[in-house]
């Protein structure tokens, strides 16, 4: 099973590139020129979002390194405890929308401590698979087109995150 899935996930990217280039070649398009044209746009996009990345990483890194995130977790703990949310998962649930790299680190840590195949370990995995780094996505997408007013996008995506995290916990409880 794992071999098949590994094969499919390894196949996805080469397969897409192959199909696209092959089709372009068959249709006698100037494939390489078109590729270069597009690739040039890529540089512009990265240059546009680079300042955002610096700012965002600085703020999130400070949040993590100052230890204030632990205080936040301690403040929210009683509420989550009240609704029977597993406290082991909490740091992950809080950091997941904010920082991709630190949520991967925390998830790995949880899996190591509680066992990869334990209920908590599986919960952490499902949360990681089912959600995204919301703040980063919003910041990068908005700043790439120099937009400042983001209206209700944060509320909408955080709702999706919260529902995803709750669903992960419920499903994993149901399974085991």
């Amino acid at each position: 099973m794992i071999d098949v899935i590994n094969f499919i996930s390894n196949l996805a990217m080469p397969f897409i590139i192959l199909i696209i280039v092959f089709y372009g070649f068959l249709e006698k398009k100037e494939v390489f020129d078109k590729f270069l044209e597009g690739a040039k746009d890529g540089i512009k996009i990265v240059v546009n979002i680079f300042p955002t990345l610096i700012g965002l990483f600085l703020a999130v890194g400070a949040l993590r390194n100052s230890g204030i995130i632990d205080i936040a977790i301690r403040l929210i703990e009683p509420i989550l405890h009240f609704v029977n949310f597993p406290s082991e998962i909490m740091p992950l649930a809080i950091l997941r929308p904010i920082s991709g790299s630190s949520s991967i680190a925390i998830a790995t840590d949880i899996m190591k401590n509680f066992g990869v195949d334990s209920q908590i370990g599986i919960m952490a995995s499902v949360i990681m698979g089912a959600t995204e780094t919301t703040l980063y996505t919003i910041a990068v997408y908005s700043s790439s087109v120099k937009i400042k007013k983001t209206r209700f996008v944060l509320i909408a995506s955080l709702t999706a995150d919260i529902v995803g995290i709750i669903a992960s916990v419920v499903i994993c409880r149901f399974l085991s």
Binding site: K34, G61, A130, S157
Partner: protein, 197 residues
């Protein structure tokens, strides 16, 4: 939004670090974060250019028409405002395909290209349009067939069944997606109503 969140993050964590005597950590953290932002951008520069190039080839062939036909009902429902903008439709379709296949590296450049195209017909250049919000929400809820990163982590930690999470991930991500789409649709409706009054 970030004009509010960013200073709050900085003020809270910097002042907390000063009062709790955690300055050494904070100092090393500052340099680490700028460094990792540079590293990420350099890695990104490669994949970004690669996928922007590939999509440009794709949009010049008939493949994009096939994908568009398949995704048309979905796009029509989610992005009713871009009926006549085939370029934006193309890019959003490719972004969806990349997300579903779990190609995060490819999804971002494709999504950002779509943002650029949507910005062209955006009436208020400093404000997100409805279609942009939907695109962002879809990308934060990332529905994917194979969650590659987490499977890789699980098998590196010696899991007996690294792929056991796939179906639970599908269910959770679909719940998240439905929640995100419904609330976005609702809030779009609400903001329209308020404008009319």
């Amino acid at each position: 939004m970030l004009n509010f969140i960013w200073p709050i993050f900085i003020i809270l964590s910097f002042s907390y670090a000063i009062f709790s005597g955690n300055l050494q950590n904070l100092n090393s953290g500052i340099f680490e974060s700028t460094e990792s932002a540079v590293n990420l951008s350099i890695t990104m520069l490669g994949t970004m250019c690669l996928w922007s190039g590939i999509i440009n080839v794709a949009t010049n062939t008939k493949i994009i028409n096939i994908i568009n036909k398949l995704l048309k009902p979905v796009i029509k429902f989610l992005f009713p405002e871009i009926k006549h903008n085939t370029k934006a439709q193309n890019e959003i379709s490719m972004n969806m395909v990349a997300n579903i296949l779990g190609l995060g590296n490819a999804a971002t450049p494709l999504g950002l290209k779509a943002m650029e195209t949507l910005q062209e017909e955006n009436e208020h250049k400093e404000t997100l349009s409805n279609s942009m919000i939907m695109l962002i929400v879809l990308n934060t809820a990332s529905i994917q067939i194979i969650p590659t990163t987490i499977i890789a982590i699980r098998s590196s930690l010696g899991s007996e069944n690294p792929t056991a999470i796939i179906v639970p991930v599908w269910i959770a991500t679909i719940c998240a997606g439905i929640a995100g789409i419904s609330i976005t649709k609702l809030l779009i409706k609400y903001s329209k109503k308020r404008k009319n009054v």
